[in-house]
């Protein structure tokens, strides 16, 4: 901290112990703990200006200052009846999106307090995950009934996709170039589609047609519950994490297994993030520990120890976003 924000590495973890910890990523030292009262932390994300950390919990989304010693949140978004399971931001920070067990995905206007441009998208099952397409105009919403909804925010047009019957969608990821989309389900299966950007209509006024998806690959990634999937920034790897106590890295060139990140004490792997150069991955696990892995060697480079209970989510920003 104290560096200019472009050089800042931010690592925050949260979980069942009702606290969020900030870490010095390269040394493993916990620099700060903030309170997250009355709720576990379901998801974490950092605002595009690197100033705030958003934590999604039961009925709330709380915002914490990153460069401060304030142990309390500064903004509390509420009015949701159940768990908030996903949180993220438009790349320019205009709005925030969330998804929750109240069967809806929401867009919160961050510019004004009265939520001028708020939006809501209702589905029939609790929402497990929401992913923003890099084009900043489509939200991919995965629910417990196994449906992936592609919601075009501009037109409100939406499409459904059911990769597997009776399997809850746990997480969705799109790589930064928007070539692939991956979704992992509670059976541990991961589906990959290749994406074709929607074409612009001639008059330009009406925006564009939705992104087209073509099934690309089906990975029998894990034998147990799948939890997260994420593409590396260079799109060379797809990471999947699971209740089988491992995280796996798949090569996107042919979707074969590259390596398995596992260690004796590790339990459920709830979350994963990559360094900007795709050389390191950080995992969050039920054994109260987050770990930094070297992707080249699949070995642990650092451990972040300090949580009293399972670590279920992490937010990581490696320098300039």
């Amino acid at each position: 901290m104290g560096n200019n924000s472009g050089d800042q590495v931010i690592l925050a973890t949260g979980g069942y112990d009702h606290s969020i910890k900030f870490w010095q990523a390269h040394s493993g030292v916990c620099t700060r703990t903030v309170t997250h009262p009355e709720s576990q932390v379901n998801a974490l994300n950092i605002t595009p200006d690197s100033q705030l950390l958003a934590a999604a919990g039961y009925q709330h989304i709380r915002m914490y200052e990153i460069n401060s010693s304030n142990p309390n949140p500064i903004v509390n978004y509420e009015g949701i009846s159940r768990n908030v399971t996903a949180v993220g931001f438009h790349e320019d920070g205009h709005w925030m999106y969330t998804g929750g067990e109240d069967c809806s995905a929401r867009v919160w206007d961050l510019r004004t307090r009265n939520l001028q441009c708020s939006r809501i998208f209702q589905v029939t099952a609790p929402v497990n995950c929401v992913c923003l397409h890099p084009n900043q105009g489509e939200l991919l919403v995965g629910d417990q009934s196994g449906v992936i909804h592609i919601w075009d925010l501009r037109t409100d047009h939406n499409e459904q996709l059911i990769p597997e019957q009776d399997a809850s969608i746990q997480d969705i990821s799109i790589d930064s170039s928007a070539n692939f989309m991956a979704a992992i389900n509670n059976k541990g299966n991961c589906y990959v589609w290749s994406l074709t950007p929607g074409t612009k209509l001639p008059d330009g006024e009406e925006g564009s047609t939705p992104t087209q998806l073509r099934p690309k690959s089906r990975l029998l990634a894990h034998k147990r519950y799948g939890l997260k999937c994420k593409f590396s920034p260079d799109a060379k790897y797809l990471a999947t994490t699971s209740a089988d106590q491992t995280a796996k890295l798949w090569k996107t060139s042919d979707f074969t297994l590259h390596s398995t990140l596992q260690t004796e004490n590790q339990r459920w792997v709830w979350d994963i993030a990559f360094s900007a150069d795709s050389q390191y991955a950080i995992t969050a696990s039920s054994d109260n520990t987050a770990r930094l892995w070297s992707i080249e060697t699949s070995e642990i480079a650092k451990e972040y120890i300090g949580h009293q209970k399972a670590v279920t989510s992490l937010a990581f920003q490696d320098g300039t976003p």
Partner: protein, 430 residues
């Protein structure tokens, strides 16, 4: 919720305050026989809890302010009275309110369906996806810090009370006996979560020690270290055994402790074993450390047998520190054999360093060492003979001589003078 507008609450608050703040017990005797008038009580309860079951006599949980059995919590050490729960609670509520005032709350508002298309296009338009290859700051930092050794004690970092919220913590000053006297004047202040074990506190201290890059670096595991109650000057109080590593830190109320390195991992007290080891056997790590460790003014203790003129020897611990030499019979040797062998009248003795005049190894079999001192009561020179192995003798002599050279007083001068006179005389005779 019920507060100051509730008669019952106020009355019972006042009563309990009396009961609780009165040491003589007089208030309790008087108040015991009088009760709050029934009508006030029932009305108050209704106000507080609404229509709650009348049979409930004492309030539970939140009604903690009402229970009379407010005795000291088991985490309360010493005689200091805890503050009234009510005061603590009110303060906590106030703090929470203040904190809440700092948080701005934004409630979800059902979206305006008449949102203009222009607005939609403005805020939700799709962008061109551009791939940006960014450099990793983490990778740079990892490379820069690649040579930093990982502390072997990092697993204990989680017991740091500073990075915990809400969990009860203990803040303890730790004197680090392995550091030089100068540095030892600056003890380390450690916050530890109260539920940690003593061994985990040791690990945390070792972790912070390595984080702060203190010298000399620590090695080994937490089993190589022990925590003692610290005296005012920070030296370990050898009259007490070290804190049992398996005990929970919250049990103790000490604000100052001293970390010392022990040679053996702590062992369970063995029965029927004459040579039971205790963790307060604090001697130099390795022979080559002698220069630094023994030539210090830290407290060190050594095992040996005190030899007597008539009776057999007694197993003792010889403690040498900056101010004094102490001899105490081994505290843990309680087996029958040792009881028979030890002199029942041997009490722990302390000799101030000023009366110690010399320390010499004796050429006896088995090896022993003599510590010469001036008995100020009987006004004569005396000596103590301690039997131990040769290595320990070397260490005792080195350590004591080092301290004597700095601190030797009048008695030592007189003694040395006397000895040089004697030897001169002897050479003259020869």
């Amino acid at each position: 919720m019920a507060f100051y507008d509730n008669k019952y609450w106020i009355l019972s608050h006042v009563r309990n305050s009396f009961l609780y703040s009165d040491d003589t017990g007089m208030c309790e005797m008087i108040l015991q026989n009088t009760d709050i008038p029934k009508n006030i009580r029932e009305e108050g309860k209704k106000l507080w809890f609404g229509n709650l079951d009348d049979s409930e006599e004492e309030f539970d949980d939140d009604g903690r302010i009402h229970t009379r059995s407010l005795g000291n919590g088991n985490d309360d050490f010493g005689t200091r009275r805890r503050r009234l729960n009510t005061v603590v609670r009110l303060e906590k509520m106030k703090k929470e309110q203040q904190a809440a005032a700092m948080i701005s709350t934004i409630r979800w508002k059902e979206p305006d369906l008449t949102i203009l298309d222009e607005e939609k296009t403005k805020w939700f338009a799709k962008k061109e996806v551009v791939f940006q290859n960014s450099k990793s700051v983490l990778a740079r930092l990892m490379a820069e810090h690649a040579s930093d050794p990982d502390s072997p004690f990092i697993e204990y970092a989680k017991f740091d009370g500073n990075s915990q919220l809400r969990a009860p913590i203990r803040t303890i000053r730790i004197f680090l006996s392995m550091q030089t006297t100068q540095e030892r004047n600056f003890p380390m202040t450690v916050s530890v979560i109260a539920s940690a074990k003593v061994s985990e506190l040791i690990g945390l201290v070792c972790y912070k020690y390595s984080q702060e890059k203190r010298e000399p670096p620590l090695s080994g595991t937490v089993d190589n270290y022990a925590l003692f109650i610290a005296e005012d000057d920070g030296s370990p109080d050898a009259d007490f055994p070290c804190l049992e590593p398996k005990e929970v830190v919250g049990k103790f109320g000490f604000t100052s402790l001293a970390l010392v390195r022990s040679t053996q991992p702590p062992k369970e007290v063995k029965k029927d074993n004459e040579t039971t080891k205790t963790t307060d056997q604090v001697i130099a790590d390795k022979p080559d450390d002698r220069g630094t460790v023994l030539e210090s003014t830290d407290y060190h203790s050594f095992k040996g047998f005190l030899l007597h003129k008539v009776r057999p020897k007694t197993e003792i611990t010889l403690g040498i520190s900056w101010d004094q030499v102490e001899i105490k019979p081994c505290p843990t040797s309680r087996s029958v054999t040792t009881l028979l062998w030890s002199r029942p009248n041997l009490k722990p003795t302390r000799l101030p360093i000023e009366v110690i005049v010399d320390c010499v190894p004796l050429q006896t079999v088995p090896a022993s060492v003599a510590i010469m001192y001036y008995d100020t009561d009987k006004r004569k020179w005396r000596r103590l003979r301690i039997e131990c192995d040769i290595k320990t003798i070397e260490q005792i002599v080195a350590k004591l001589k080092f301290i004597l050279e700095i601190r030797g007083g009048l008695y030592r001068q007189e003694y040395l003078h006397h000895m040089s006179y004697v030897s001169k005389k002897a050479s003259l005779i020869r």
